[in-house]
């Protein structure tokens, strides 16, 4: 299966080849790795890879796989469907909220043509501002939210008309309060 970290573009090809007792053999981007697993009473699993021994928690949410490995936290998405299609230029023509928050500003209007890298909207969560940018040239078909509105994770912010190239989102966090 292909996995990517949410908020990242790097993809990983991960395969579980075999499991025998506490030993798991996996292949990550073509490299074989052996891991030893010991379940812990609290629902976590101690995983040993080479000389690293960490407590791992895992859970599947609707649109993400969460893994805690020691103090490190990871949020993965499986690369398929929409994300896979995006790489072939067939992405859903819309920009969605990368996190729940408040819409601070909408920087474009319906009918506008946006450039690659153009700022589209500013969201605020936890006193920090996040700007959403266009990743391709497109025309704004419909704006689904208004400034001041609270949105959920994944809510459609801006819909684009199927232009020659369609944008997807790229976020970067800017200092807020």
């Amino acid at each position: 299966m292909k996995l990517k970290r949410i908020g990242d573009t790097r993809e990983f090809d991960v395969e579980i080849i075999a499991r025998e007792g506490s030993q798991v053999r996996a292949r990550i981007d073509g490299v074989e790795v052996t891991a030893h697993l010991e379940p812990v009473a609290d629902g976590s699993t101690m995983i040993r890879v080479a000389d690293r021994h960490v407590r791992v928690f895992g859970a599947r949410l609707r649109n993400a796989i969460l893994v805690g490995a020691g103090p490190a936290s990871f949020e993965f998405a499986t690369v398929e469907g929409r994300i896979g299609a995006a790489r072939h230029g067939l992405a859903a023509p819309e920009v969605t909220a990368p996190m729940p928050g408040k819409v601070l500003k909408i920087l474009v209007a319906e009918g506008d043509t946006v450039e690659n890298g153009q700022a589209l909207a500013v969201l605020e969560a936890m006193k920090m501002e996040t700007t959403l940018y266009a990743e391709a040239v497109a025309t704004v078909k419909k704006i689904h939210v208004a400034a001041g509105q609270m949105v959920d994770h994944g809510a459609v912010i801006i819909e684009f008309s199927p232009a020659p190239a369609t944008p997807s989102t790229n976020e970067s966090t800017a200092p807020g309060a």
């Binding site: 996995l3 970290r5 908020g7 990242d8 991960v14 395969e15 579980i16 499991r19 798991v24 996996a26 990550i28 790795v33 891991a35 697993l37 379940p39 609290d42 629902g43 976590s44 699993t45 995983i47 890879v49 080479a50 690293r52 960490v54 407590r55 791992v56 928690f57 895992g58 859970a59 599947r60 949410l61 609707r62 796989i65 969460l66 893994v67 805690g68 490995a69 020691g70 103090p71 490190a72 936290s73 990871f74 949020e75 993965f76 499986t78 990368p98 996190m99 729940p100 928050g101 408040k102 969560a125 936890m126 006193k127 920090m128 996040t130 609270m150 994770h153 966090t173 200092p175 309060a177």
Partner: protein, 552 residues
């Protein structure tokens, strides 16, 4: 029974009295706290006493919980306030009473003075503790509390007002003979040009009403000066409703060191050492320690002396912090934070004090105890709900599993528990991990070990990043400045070994051979009954990955 009343009799009489009237366990706790209270032994000497029986905490999160704990130990009843987003929050459960004050948006709830004062009156509070952030430094809130006949646990409103204005605070400092960063108190272009020609570039333009890095601009050369002044004034006007700006020489690589002060109603002011807070991201502290590594005793004494002069000149009362920038052998006054600081626990550990208890006792009219001699070293790491690998993007979620560190010298202040939700409405601080040691190396080693024990599933957080920072050579050798993270951790990403482990785990979660157990996860999701009723279909039996928020 009211502890303040109880303190007038001996502990023995008090115990009999309490057992007669409150034989249940709940009140046995207040016997202990009353005895403890009596043991302070100063209550009979109080002048200007204002009794605090019931305290409303106008805050949320870890600090609300922290304040409730100290109040309880003093035998004071606590009232929490909460927004609609926080109905199930830890501080609500911990308090003796809790009042809903409004919708999730801070402006409608935790910043809503009218709603908070209304809740305090309705619940019979006689004092309000503002915590940090939110209304803690709003003079109009302090005034409204006092005008309603309640005690505001903090400095007098007028003092707060003068210190909140950076230009006015600079004047107080200059008047008290405390050095400030060379600058001019005006955004006037002619004055700015004249200052720049003397001091040279770069120059920092700051908002008089600013804070947290907002309305701040670095000007690199003369050509950008006019535009920067205008832009900063516009930004300040928009952000604070006050367009006044002033100029300071820009210090390229300063350290941020602050002095804790306490002042009482009797004119006594004491200092409780320093805190080194140089490790910052976007002007927000993330790692603090005390003592400041390498700070000479002479320099510390000079800074403490300056902080005390400032506090006296301002007529300061209660807990406050004088912040300084340190550049070589020089230090410059930055501002006084007129509240309890986030990083107060490192001072508590070194001085063996409870600063919230100090605040409450000062507010009630007590005299400050002389400080003990500080010992050891304390370090605090702020664990935030942010993705350190992706530009510290804020993260939200619900706690699915949690493992908190413990052990000698390890303290954790957090409001997290299974099922706790981190919402987008409030600050990203989710836990403060504080480690104490005989010296810096022991505190540092304990911090690395404690961060290694910390694990939290459900909310992306900065714990692994903090562990790498604390374990780094740069931190070990205390190469500290406010540029620390830019210089040493410009593009942090997870350790490849952790990533490998996580990828294997993710593939197994996806394949259904690894996952959170339903007992904890279902509790987090409030669906324990459903999974129990599933019988043979129960994920319990499978120990496999399953859908947490319902089936796909």
């Amino acid at each position: 029974m009211e502890p303040r009343l109880a303190c007038k009799c001996t502990p023995a009489v008090q115990r009999i009295f309490t057992l007669l009237f409150f034989p249940d366990n709940r009140h046995r706790q207040s016997i202990a706290s009353s005895e403890r209270n009596g043991a302070y032994g100063r209550l009979a000497l109080r002048v200007n006493t204002r009794t605090i029986r019931k305290l409303l905490i106008a805050n949320r999160g870890e600090i609300a919980l922290r304040i409730i704990r100290s109040a309880r130990v003093l035998g004071i009843k606590t009232i929490a306030v909460y927004s609609e987003a926080d109905a199930g929050a830890a501080h609500v459960a911990a308090a003796d009473d809790a009042r809903l004050i409004g919708p999730p948006e801070p402006s409608a709830s935790y910043l809503n003075i009218e709603a908070i004062i209304g809740a305090a009156k309705a619940a019979g509070a006689d004092a309000i503790h503002p915590g940090y952030g939110f209304l803690s430094e709003r003079p109009e809130f302090a005034r409204a509390v006092e005008a309603s006949g309640m005690v505001f646990v903090g400095p007098p409103a007028d003092v707060m007002a003068s210190l909140g204005d950076k230009v006015a605070a600079r004047r107080i400092a200059v008047g008290a003979g405390v050095p400030v960063v060379p600058g001019v108190d005006t955004g006037d272009l002619a004055a700015a040009r004249e200052f720049a020609s003397k001091a040279g570039f770069p120059i920092l333009v700051k908002a008089a009403a600013g804070g947290g890095g907002r309305g701040m601009r670095v000007v690199a050369d003369a050509t950008g000066l006019e535009a920067a002044l205008e832009a900063a004034a516009r930004e300040a006007q928009a952000a604070f409703g006050d367009g006044r700006v002033f100029l300071e020489r820009y210090l390229a690589r300063p350290r941020h060191i602050e002095i804790q002060i306490l002042g009482d109603h009797h004119g006594d002011v004491i200092a409780l050492g320093e805190r080194e807070c140089s490790i910052q991201r976007r002007h927000q502290k993330i790692i603090e320690e005390s003592p400041a590594p390498g700070l000479s005793a002479a320099m510390r004494d000079r800074m403490i002396d300056a902080a005390l002069k400032l506090a006296r000149a301002a007529g300061y009362r209660n807990a406050g912090t004088a912040e300084f920038l340190v550049d070589g052998d020089n230090f410059y006054f930055l501002e006084i934070n007129a509240r309890l600081q986030v990083e107060h626990p490192i001072t508590e550990l070194r001085f063996g004090r409870d600063l919230v208890a100090d605040q409450l006792r000062i507010a009630a009219g007590d005299r400050i105890d002389e400080p003990l001699t500080p010992r050891g070293c304390a370090i605090e790491c702020r664990i935030n709900a942010e993705d350190a690998a992706h530009d510290f993007r804020p993260a939200v979620g619900r706690v699915i599993n949690l493992n908190l560190p413990a052990g000698p010298g390890v303290r954790i202040d957090t409001h997290l528990g299974l099922g706790a939700e981190v919402s987008p409405y409030y600050d990203s601080l989710i836990a403060k991990l504080i480690c104490f040691g005989d010296d810096r190396e022991q505190a540092r080693a304990r911090m690395i070990a404690a961060l290694g024990e910390f694990s939290l599933l459900g909310i992306t957080n900065t714990a692994a990043f903090l562990r790498d920072v604390v374990a780094s050579a740069a931190f070990t050798s205390a190469d500290l400045s406010t540029r620390f993270l830019d210089e040493h951790f410009p593009h942090w990403t997870n350790d490849e070994a952790d990533l490998t482990t996580a990828l294997i785990a993710a593939a197994m979660v996806s394949g259904g051979t690894l996952g959170a157990r339903p007992d904890s996860a279902a509790a987090a999701n409030g669906s324990r009954i459903e999974s129990a009723a599933n019988g043979a279909r129960s994920p319990w039996a499978e120990l496999a990955g399953f859908e947490l928020w319902g089936r796909r």
